[in-house]
């Protein structure tokens, strides 16, 4: 149904009986420990006899490893173990599978293929000694020419990086295509207007404040390995360790304790984790490995690195007909992309955006280069960051060419509400959406017309003010197991719920929080379904011995997948409770009505039992109805029917100092629609964080290399992340368009703002530079790059 909101516009409205929690803005259950400094992160762990591991990394981007001499390191009085690639090779552990069916060296044997690659490791009695001993390892390299510029990676004379792969004679990684090329070409051929632009999404890094690390503890007596690690996907990691190390899966326990931010950086398995396991296996002691910040930035999962050619076809009056794109994807030295197997380019296929098109086509070529592996990380929703950036930039280029207002152009081309579920020209089925009210609300909050008037005045005075708009459709909650798996593991997630005799409950989840507030949100979901107060519900997660199997938290999938699982498992418990209630009230099940927290007999207001009464009966003495087992608990595995498709409209206002070319983000308005909202406070926090990522990527963040392959962004002095002084006080709003297939209508929101904000900011900067005739400039828009653009020579970032 629709209703008129207080601000006067029409919008979707959630039916009250489907309103999920009734608890709304609830303070977080996890916070009391964090504000006391009692969070428990991996590096906080201190086990008796624990040893410390440090990794020696390659200083060169591409080189043959001729010899590794560890004699001096082994002689260090505090060193217990030194391991090289050759030693791992003897055990068959020198290589490990990546999440994209490639292999990656744990420790280099033949060659090093990127600066920062793991070459050897040391285990010592303390972390200072481990670090000291690295200096004592002597590695002899024969330098090889590196492949750094993605555009020359496929040239015939380029050195072959992956000569470990049999028969490999070039640096080609994979080709991928989606949409209909012939149909798209035909539409382009008859279009009034065609606009093309080269658009680069530079390599960036999630850089969570806590770096990656692990404590491995192998118990030789019972053969059990416990691994505390910074992982967003403990169950998937456990299975992979079983497959790699040959340890039986039931003898591996992966614990993901408190995690200091993930953003996708903590999805892959890194060589360091495997080294820690090997270290513990060989020493019989607990072994801790925590990477330093340089290691984190130069060797762990980067994000983006797409060189895109975008083309858009439209009628003269602004009807968009088709979008076509050609992408060159830099995958680094190993294809470590963490994406569903059938989606080597992640969900880039949603590059058609929020628009009703006649045709679309994408052709992608992925290559190897002498850079760190990774590729899907940094809150990207499996490459939707790149897709949305492409479409929202190219649509703005079209607006520029048509001299049309960018909001008006978008409004004219939105998929209309009655077209949902909407199948895009690249085969994605958007579950629900109502775009125009979201865009309208953003305009209202921003005071869009007034801003345009102000801009016009300022331009006369030579002041540079820009207004940027973006509109995104996200695709989150991977995913249906028929389509989506990671290394053969279906992307369904389990959930288990137990109600204790006194009516308190514990819910166990396969997903793992890294700050998203799962301990609160999931308690709220279950609370709403069962009528137990959220304070009485314990959320257990991040421990494979204590939780059901599932693929973990990334791609904004926790609420779409495990949120659904939590609601459904609660309903399953409620169904059983109903049977017990019928026995307690001595009526048939059909006569019972559920009123949050209790069953009552229809027509008899005095006859009712609470869920707490039922829980006690379920565990207590006395008979239960025929065929009903004791206890009050249930488990399910939720296989999502489809992804969920949140959307949002963002408007950014920037000012540029004409003399220094420095950009200031003056205002940012974000209106998000993530379907049914569970905890508005947490949602707002997720949006704020993503918007800040957007400022980072648009204005300052980039992993850069010199021509020799040296990473120039290996510290937080060089890899710049926004501080409180670079971001405005965010202005947020929301509309609600529930997902039709999610049990409570919720979509995901964790990455929406990271996806949607970079184009809004870049569009604003480019808009400010319109007096210079500029239609496009690549991120990151540092003062220098903005100034170069103003001189008519925009510099590509690579």
């Amino acid at each position: 149904m629709t209703t008129v909101a207080s601000n006067g516009h029409r919008t979707a409205f959630v039916d009250n009986d489907r309103k999920p929690t009734g608890h709304g803005r609830m303070l977080r259950k996890e916070d009391p420990r964090f504000v006391r400094g009692k969070g428990r992160y991996v590096d906080d762990l201190q086990l008796p006899g624990m040893l410390h591991l440090a990794i020696l990394r390659s200083p060169l981007a591409h080189a043959r490893v001729l010899s590794v001499d560890t004699t001096l390191a082994e002689a260090h009085p505090k060193v217990r173990l030194v391991v090289t690639g050759a030693m791992l090779a003897e055990k068959g552990l020198a290589w490990m599978p990546t999440l994209s069916n490639d292999v990656q060296a744990v420790l280099a044997t033949d060659k090093v293929r990127f600066q920062g690659q793991e070459v050897a490791f040391v285990v010592a009695e303390d972390r200072y000694s481990a670090r000291d001993a690295l200096e004592l390892i002597d590695v002899e390299y024969e330098a090889l020419d590196p492949v750094i510029d993605v555009r020359t990676a496929l040239s015939p004379d380029a050195p072959v990086i992956r000569d470990d792969l049999e028969g490999k004679s070039d640096n080609h990684c994979f080709d991928w295509e989606t949409g209909d090329a012939a149909e798209t070409d035909a539409v382009f051929a008859r279009a009034d207007v065609v606009v093309s632009e080269d658009i680069v999404y530079p390599r960036v890094h999630p850089a969570p404040m806590e770096t990656c690390g692990a404590v491995a503890d192998y118990d030789a007596v019972d053969g059990k390995l416990t691994l505390w690690s910074t992982t967003q996907a403990p169950h998937a990691h456990r299975t992979l360790y079983a497959l790699v190390a040959g340890l039986p899966e039931h003898k591996i326990r992966v614990v993901s304790p408190d995690i200091g931010g993930g953003f996708g950086n903590k999805v892959p398995i890194y060589p360091g984790y495997v080294c820690a396991i090997v270290g513990s296996l060989l020493t019989g002691k607990p072994v801790k490995w925590m990477e330093d910040r340089a290691e984190n930035l130069i060797s762990t999962g980067f994000a983006r690195d797409y060189v895109m050619r975008g083309e858009i076809a439209a009628t003269r009056d602004g009807k968009i007909l088709a979008i076509r794109t050609n992408v060159l994807a830099d995958h680094g030295a190993f294809n470590g992309t963490a994406a569903p197997v059938k989606y080597p380019a992640g969900f880039f296929g949603v590059f058609t955006g929020s628009y009703d098109l006649e045709a679309a086509h994408c052709k992608m070529t992925a290559v190897y280069t002498n850079k760190a592996p990774g590729g899907v990380a940094y809150a990207c929703s499996f490459r939707i960051t790149e897709a949305v950036y492409l479409v929202e930039r190219i649509v703005n280029c079209l607006a520029f060419e048509l001299d049309m207002d960018p909001v008006e152009l978008r409004m004219k081309n939105f998929i209309r509400p009655e077209q949902f579920p909407y199948r895009t020209k690249t085969g994605w089925v958007y579950d629900s959406g109502n775009y125009a009210p979201t865009m309208e609300l953003a305009k209202q909050l921003a005071g869009y017309d007034e801003l345009r008037a102000e801009q016009a005045e300022k331009r006369v005075r030579g002041e540079l003010m820009g207004i940027g708009v973006s509109f995104f459709t996200e695709a989150v909650g991977a995913g249906p197991r028929k389509d989506m798996d990671i290394l053969g593991l279906g992307m369904a997630d389990g959930c288990e719920l137990r109600v204790h005799p006194t009516g308190k409950a514990v819910v166990r989840l396969s997903v793992q929080t890294q700050g998203q507030g799962h301990e609160t949100t999931f308690a709220q979901i279950v609370a709403e379904e069962l009528g137990i107060p959220p304070q009485d519900i314990e959320v257990v997660h991040g421990d494979t011995d204590q939780t059901p199997f599932g693929l973990g938290t990334y791609g904004s999938r926790s609420t779409p997948v495990s949120g659904a699982a939590a609601a459904l498992v609660a309903r399953k418990v409620r169904d059983k409770a109903k049977l017990i209630a019928s026995g307690m009230l001595e009526v048939s099940v059909a006569d019972l009505e559920w009123e949050k927290g209790s069953f009552r007999v229809a027509g008899d207001p005095n006859a009712s039992v609470t869920i707490q009464d039922i829980a006690m009966r379920a565990h207590g003495a006395g008979d239960l109805p025929e065929g009903v087992e004791g206890g009050l608990e249930a488990q399910i595995c939720y296989n999502p029917e489809n992804l969920t498709y949140p959307h949002g409209a963002y408007i950014c206002v920037v000012d540029i100092d004409p003399g220094t070319a420095k950009v200031t983000v003056r205002r940012f308005v974000a209106v998000d629609d993530c379907g049914t909202r569970i905890n508005p406070m947490i949602i707002e926090g997720q949006v704020h964080g993503g918007l800040t990522d957007g400022v980072g990527m648009a204005l300052m963040e980039m992993i850069a290399f010199d021509e020799d392959g040296n990473c120039l962004s290996g510290s937080l002095m060089d890899y710049l992340i926004p501080t409180a002084l670079e971001v405005p006080d965010w202005e947020t709003g929301f509309t609600v368009t529930p997902s039709p297939h999610h049990p409570i209508g919720a979509k995901g929101v964790g990455e929406s703002a990271t996806v949607g904000s970079p184009p809004a900011i870049v569009n604003a900067v480019v808009d400010a530079l319109a007096p210079f005739g500029i239609r496009h400039a690549d991120m990151p828009l540092t003062p220098s790059r903005v100034w170069e653009a103003m001189q008519g020579r925009p510099v590509p970032p690579i």
Partner: protein, 293 residues
């Protein structure tokens, strides 16, 4: 986290003690004050010493801002925060407060010192540009007493200073002249970053309102922070005017030697040298008249 290589920690509580210890240990020892440049370099193992001599207890002796007739003396252990918060200093040299607001961040400013900044001799370092602009001189203590060197002589190249192995910078002196003011401006990619380019200006007027002297110091556009001598020559005796600032900007752009790096292209930095020179001269002169622009 990266950690320094082993060294022996020593602590001294007087300048004489520091000098005696340095004399004994030679180039195997290094002084540490705030430590916010040195300790990160030691963690990254770009700098290794056998002995580290902690001089933080010299703050009692060397942490001061003293106004005297004709000059201000600042002790080398004076911390950034103290420089930022001193109203007396801001009144004499507003350039200090301009610069201190954009040096590193407030927490680092609680530890970092004037002496440490100057001795690090980073070409992008802001306080060095301030001292150059103000024509400061540095007091260096050694076994044979003290000597005074000008800022021009103090910095001898990137990360190199006139301070010998057995010497310690104890004080920086600033001449105070009448009818003058100063200003500083920095362009950075993000708060707390090193300068893309910074510029400082100090201007003094004569009784007739003409420019008696003018100095401009630039950071991050050469091997060390540099005073641009040609600007003083071009401005002396002239009446303050926009065209004059533009000419000074041209001289600054011409005189500097920026290189392209991650912070910006050489052309952009040259442009900034011009733009910022104009801005700080304009602001310094306005401040003589009690105005802020």
């Amino acid at each position: 986290m990266q950690v320094p290589a082993p060294f022996e920690y020593q602590r001294v509580s007087t300048v004489d003690e520091a000098v005696t210890l340095l004399d004994r240990l030679g180039d195997t020892a290094r002084l540490v004050a705030g430590g916010h440049s040195l300790i990160p370099m030691m963690k990254l193992r770009l700098a290794n010493f056998e002995y580290l001599i902690d001089i933080n207890e010299l703050h009692d002796e060397l942490g001061y801002i003293r106004a005297e007739p004709g000059r201000i003396r600042i002790g080398a252990m004076t911390r950034h925060r103290e420089l930022l918060e001193s109203d007396e200093l801001a009144a004499a040299f507003p350039i200090f407060r301009d610069a201190e607001r954009v040096i590193a961040d407030p927490v680092v400013r609680n530890r970092g010192t004037l002496g440490g900044s100057l001795c690090q001799a980073d070409p992008s370092e802001d306080l060095s540009a301030v001292c150059t602009t103000l024509d400061a001189s540095c007091v260096i203590h050694g076994m044979n007493g003290e000597r005074v060197v000008s800022m021009e002589d103090f910095h001898q190249g990137p990360y190199e200073t006139a301070v010998g192995d057995a010497e310690i910078l104890t004080e920086v002196r600033f001449p105070v002249r009448p009818r003058g003011s100063s200003a500083y401006e920095k362009v950075e990619r993000r708060a707390g970053d090193w300068a893309v380019v910074s510029a400082g200006a100090a201007v003094w007027l004569d009784e007739a309102g003409l420019i008696a002297d003018a100095r401009v110091g630039l950071a991050a556009v050469g091997p060390n922070t540099a005073g641009i001598a040609g600007i003083a020559d071009a401005l002396r005796g002239q009446a303050p005017a926009e065209e004059l600032w533009a000419r000074a900007g041209d001289i600054a752009a011409e005189a500097c030697s920026p290189v392209t790096d991650r912070r910006g292209s050489a052309e952009y930095k040259r442009h900034l040298a011009r733009e910022l020179t104009v801005r700080v001269l304009r602001r310094a002169v306005a401040r003589i008249d009690g105005q802020e622009v």
